[in-house]
Amino acid sequence: MAIECLVLGAGQEVGKSCVVVTIGGKRIMFDCGMHMGYHDCNRYPDFARILAAAPETTDFTSAISCVIITHFHLDHIGALPYFTEVCGYHGPIYMTYPTKALAPLMLEDYRKVMVDQRGEEEQYSYEDILRCMKKVIPVDLKQTIQVNRDLVIRAYYAGHVLGAAMVYAKVGDAAMVYTGDYNMTPDRHLGAAQIERLKLDLLITESTYAKTIRDSKHAREREFLKAVHKCVSEGGKVLIPTFALGRAQELCILLDDYWERMNLKIPIYFSAGLTIQANMYYKMLIGWTSQKIKDSYTVQNPFDFKHVCHFERSFINDPGPCVLFATPGMISGGFSLEVFKRWATSDKNLVTLPGYCVAGTIGHKLMSGKPTRIDIDKDTHVDVRCQIHQLSFSPHTDSKGIMDLTEFLSPNHVILVHGEKPQMAFLKDRIESELGMSCYYPANNETVSIPTTQNMKISATEKFITNCAALQARDSLQKSDLISSIHLSGVNEDERLAEGILLMEKSKAPKILCEDEFLKLLGTDRHSVQFEPLLPSRIEEAEAAIVDDLTSE
């Protein structure tokens, strides 16, 4: 038996994660994402290849046993409504509770941007999203789910974002883990990935930071807080453009905590809309956050930020310092752009940018060098005098974390996805040399086949077992002699060997039996062949060797 692994997306790239794994005839689709960089048919994984790989069937529902979504980011879930509503997959879809709750927000938000702002053709409607979400079966962490007679899946905590999960899947003896995106170091509101030691044939892991080893987050947090504190204490305003989910909450907890400790009274604002709604979900889904938050929420819900107030549009021009969280994250438009236009002109103000900005956005322009003037469109431009602080809080694990997880799980094979090719090659070498596992990083639409271990049930005859027991008893008698001579060295080396003959017959269960029984079964007598040992050797060499041995003793 083998595991067939067809990479439909995120092979040697980041985006449209989608891996279809076939274990023992059961086909599982892990993630169903879209690529944000493409606006053509390359946006979605090439689903047709699934049918091509499954010649026995013509529709997706019978070809695929289940779809499993690890978390709500669009590059992991973006193509799901398309796959279910347009391609017509009607089988089970599994995702965690938070993912199910937050995914419609993300999907609808993106659909709106796509249709309303870019004026693109609608790939799926809002109703499609709702219909799609109705098919979803929510799962809890460590809940074992019997998808069908053979296939068992189980979700583990992955950090990364609220509700992110790593998925363990097992068919018969073949088992694998698909990590999705994960984070091995905890942050303020999410814990670190957590999984048990499992016997695995295959591990499919993300490798966003295949080569980078990040230093401690403390230094980055400190720098960020210092920059913000300095700015507000000099009367400036801080604009933090963020996405509504994840980073906004992370930074807000950080600031709220710092405000509390430093006893600052300067207001922190959250712009309206998605963020408020997202905060509400975070408050409800406390069980999926970090230990610290779980510990403290009975006293005070950490998402009830003490120092955060609601922002009114009229506050933009108010004098005095403040901190404002505004969407979207890369200042590509919307409210954060509006605020940026007002605030960027003063050198007292500060704009903190996320670690990564898509080319073409204002965030990207600000990150590349220090521009003094930014053209927003043909007619308007902004004189940029404000300070700029870049802040790379990434919820992905680094190279060290990937190695740690791989070492902990110790699978037989590793497949890297969700990363860039050169870095993946580097990581592959490390995994192969340091951990001694075979490692692959297939490109999109490539298939990797992995052999699996297979356990066999063998019955043993009564005589064989009695024989073994007798052998052991004799052993332990010898051992007791050893004890009397006060010798403990052999204790750790109890290798109980038993000899027998494995008999595999057609249409019968394999069994193990003794020599005598076997002879009886065959109905023949014992033949014995004797050998005379003849060893060619040179006496001089042998002598030398003995002398060496003696000296070394």
Partner: protein
């Protein structure tokens, strides 16, 4: 490979990697008898069993055996081998038990090395790496146990230690490298498993793990200076931890490192220290201070920033008096820096406009303490010139740092007082030895003497006048009372007459020297006080009321005049001043002179001959009519609140007998304007001391001002304890007319008490005194 290990080392016994069959090593278990061997054998075979719970229990059993047996013996090796085998078990409780067992074995090995004196560095490094590889386990308890085990390690090589701090794999030929080369490790351990375990540990999701990691970081600091320095960087990050318990553990770790001298603070760490000094949590602040009291700061810049941090902390939390002790020990640790501070401070004091006020500031106090610590520092052999002005200013603060000085207090005091040129301290100490109870500072004594002398003289002079005056006054009072019969009830008049009678008796009985306050005196004084209070303690009087109050003042003075009968120059001046003020108030015609004041004014203008007034005062009193005021407007009463934080009879302030003691007051004044003169009056027994309050030091507006200030009380008695009665008084302006003794250093004018007297409890730190 086992054989080579055995043969290369003469040590008594070795760890056997699992699966090896070497039995050539001499297992020295002869001393421990057959007991543990049987147990070990049974448990080891159970540990290889099928069932996880049984395996875990077997490991726990082995741990119990290891704890029981001595350091020698092969049992430890067996247990260790068994634990290593199960270190990567699927079941977390087994991993936990295995890690715990390895930790115990490591302790035994270390103990054995200590006994035999033969170190096996490689073995220790190996165990360190094995434990490290479990520090990234997914199970929280295993991580905690791994860090706890690591904390007990002895003699770990520097390379391995440094690797444990850095996530990046350090490729060196020493340390872990040698282990890899020696090829003694199972393949899993060649992978640099120690890499960055602490970097991960301090970021762990569970604060329990962070605490364990923090402890271990500190515990291992003794093995390598380079490691200690890098570990400090991590510990600094931990001071920003969001869990208080972790921050406290970090400070505890730093404190331990500082105590053992492994802590070398660099400039980049300073801001973190300074941030913890002003932490919202008092325990954190306290711990941070303790560390600062121990560390060695290599640069003057850092020293100064540490001082600034402490001063800021002191300003924010003035009740934390132990800051002074810390300042003293910091100063003591950095003698030459302190001397530098002292020099600057002396300059500042000499250029300050008023030498006395400077003590009010926390900054100056702090710097004073630091300055006086220089001579007791370790740098004693260097010549450290501490300007004597410092000592004279620092003496009142000594009580606070007495805990830092400890038993050497007297010795330290002697050095303090010699250069300061202050006479009283030595005398004080001498008299303390003599056991006399009378103990005043010479300065105060001198002052008191002068006062008494002066009083006596004056009394002599005024004796006769007084007696005559009194007699006359009696008669006049009788007369007056007669005049008053119209308005007052007969009862009152009778009382007054009786008083007069008694008074006459009194004058007859005793001689003039013993004139006590008569009831009339008391009445007059009372009237005076009330009128003064009306005049001084209310702001926002409208013009009309002001005139009325002034008239009352005039009336009161006239009463007094009528009492004595004689008109001193002083009295006349005073009257003139009041009339002038009235004049000024009515000049613009908004108010009218009453008949009374008009008459008085005219009489005065006309009848003053050579500074004496020849007129019948009673006439004035007759025409006085009080017009009831209708409109009071917005009256604001001046008042004050005086507090000494944390002082009560249970918690007295420390002082040193005979030396001045600084008492820090929290004062808040309401409705006191900037040109009012406020004094603080302190008295204990017979000594009264006034201190002027500089209102410019107060914060706040005209309505409420507040300030916390330290005021030295000089005349501390030689007693185990005493109560200082303190109150705030406001000076009532009466032109330039001096009614009080200016030499005393108190207010020039008459005063009105602004608040009730406050008791401040002080207790001597001097044990001799108590005996």
């Amino acid at each position: 490979m086992d054989g080579s290990l055995a043969s290369s080392d003469p040590g008594p016994s070795f760890a056997k990697p699992p699966g090896s069959s070497g039995d050539s090593g001499p297992c020295a278990s002869r001393s421990s008898g057959p007991g543990p061997e049987v147990e070990v054998r049974a448990l080891v075979s159970m540990a290889g069993g099928l069932y996880p719970l049984a395996r875990a229990e077997a490991l726990r059993g082995l741990a119990a055996v290891v704890e029981k047996v001595g350091t020698s013996g092969g049992a430890v090796e067996c247990c260790y081998g068994c634990a290593v085998e199960l270190l990567r078990d699927e079941d977390q409780s087994i991993r936990l038990a295995a890690v715990r067992l390895i930790g115990l074995c490591a302790e035994k090995f270390a103990g054995r090395e200590e006994v035999s004196g033969i170190g096996n560095g490689d073995q220790m490094d190996l165990i360190f790496l094995q434990l490290s590889s479990t520090a990234r386990d997914m199970c929280m308890q295993v991580r905690i146990e791994a860090f706890n085990g690591l904390a007990k390690m002895q003699r770990v090589s520097e390379g391995v230690l440094l690797q444990s701090l850095s996530k990046k794999v350090i490729r060196t030929d020493t340390g872990s490298g040698s282990i890899c080369k020696a090829n003694k490790l199972p393949p899993k351990l060649i992978f640099p498993c120690a890499a960055g375990i602490f970097a991960h540990g301090i970021e762990d999701e569970f604060y329990q793990v962070r605490i364990a990691a923090c402890k271990t970081l500190g515990a291992l600091a003794k093995f390598s200076g380079q490691y200690a320095q890098k570990a400090l960087d991590l510990l600094m990050d931990m001071m920003n931890d969001d869990t208080e318990a972790v921050r406290l553990q970090t400070l505890q770790t730093l404190f331990n490192m500082a105590t053992y001298g492994y802590l070398s603070v660099q400039e980049k760490h300073m801001h973190m220290f300074l941030a913890t000094l002003i932490d919202a949590n008092a325990i954190v602040r306290n711990a941070a201070r303790k560390i600062l009291g121990l560390v060695n700061l290599p640069k003057l810049q850092m020293f100064r920033s540490a001082l600034d941090g402490l001063i800021t902390s002191l300003e924010k939390n003035p009740e934390e008096q132990d800051i002074y002790s810390i300042l003293f020990s910091i100063g003591k640790n950095h003698g030459s820096f302190s001397a530098n501070v002292a020099k600057h401070l002396a300059k500042e004091i000499s250029t300050a406009p008023n030498g006395e006020l400077i003590l009010d500031k926390h900054r100056i106090q702090a710097l004073l303490i630091v300055s006086i610590s220089a001579p007791v520092s370790a740098d004693k052999h260097k010549k450290l010139d501490i300007p004597s002005v410092i000592f004279s200013h620092a003496i009142p603060l000594l009580g606070r740092i007495s805990s830092a000085l400890g038993e050497d207090i007297i010795k330290d005091l002697s050095y303090l007082c010699h250069p300061s040129g202050m006479p009283f301290a030595e005398k004080g100490l001498m008299s303390g030895e003599g056991g006399r109870s009378e103990f005043w500072s010479v300065e105060t004594m001198r002052g008191t003497h002068a006062l008494i002398e002066k009083t006596r003289k004056e009394t002599n002079c005024s004796d006769e006048v007084l007696i005559m005056g009194s007699m006359r006054l009696m008669l006049e009072t009788v007369e007056e009372t007669w005049a008053m019969r119209e308005s007052c009830g007969i009862e009152e008049i009778r009382t007054i007459l009786r008083t007069c009678k008694e008074e006459v008796k009194l004058i007859q009985l005793e001689n003039s020297y013993a004139i006590g306050p008569t009831s009339l005196d008391i009445l007059l004084e009372k009237l005076d006080t009330y009128v003064r209070r009306m005049k001084c303690c209310y702001t926002g009087l409208n013009r009309e009321l002001e005139v009325q109050v002034l008239e009352l003042v005039l009336l009161a003075n006239l009463f007094r005049l009528s009492k004595f009968g004689v008109c001193s120059k002083l009295m006349l001046d005073k009257l003139h001043w009041i009339i002038n003020q009235l004049d000024g108030l009515c000049a613009d015609g908004s108010c009218e002179f009453s008949d009374f004041s008009n008459t008085v004014k005219q009489t005065f203008d006309a009848n003053v001959i050579d500074g004496t007034l020849v007129v019948d005062i009673c006439n004035f009193l007759k025409i006085f009519r009080l017009k009831p005021a209708k409109d009071f407007g917005m009256l604001n009463a001046a008042s004050a609140v005086l507090q000494v934080l944390g002082n009560n009879s249970e918690n007295p302030l420390p002082y040193i007998c005979g030396l001045p003691v600084g008492v820090s007051f929290d004062i808040s004044l309401s409705n006191i304007s900037g040109h009012d003169r406020i004094w603080i009056r302190m008295n204990s027994g017979q000594s009264i001391q006034h201190a002027f309050l500089e209102l410019s030091c107060f914060e706040g507006n005209d309505e409420v001002k507040s300030c916390s200030t330290v005021i030295p009380f000089y005349a501390t008695p030689l007693a185990c304890s005493f109560v200082l009665r303190v109150c705030l008084v406001i000076e009532c302006p009466s032109g330039s007319i001096c009614t009080h003794y200016e030499e005393h250093g108190g207010p020039r004018d008459s005063v009105v008490q602004l608040c009730d007297e406050l008791n401040v409890y002080l207790v001597s730190t001097d044990t001799e005194c108590k005996n």
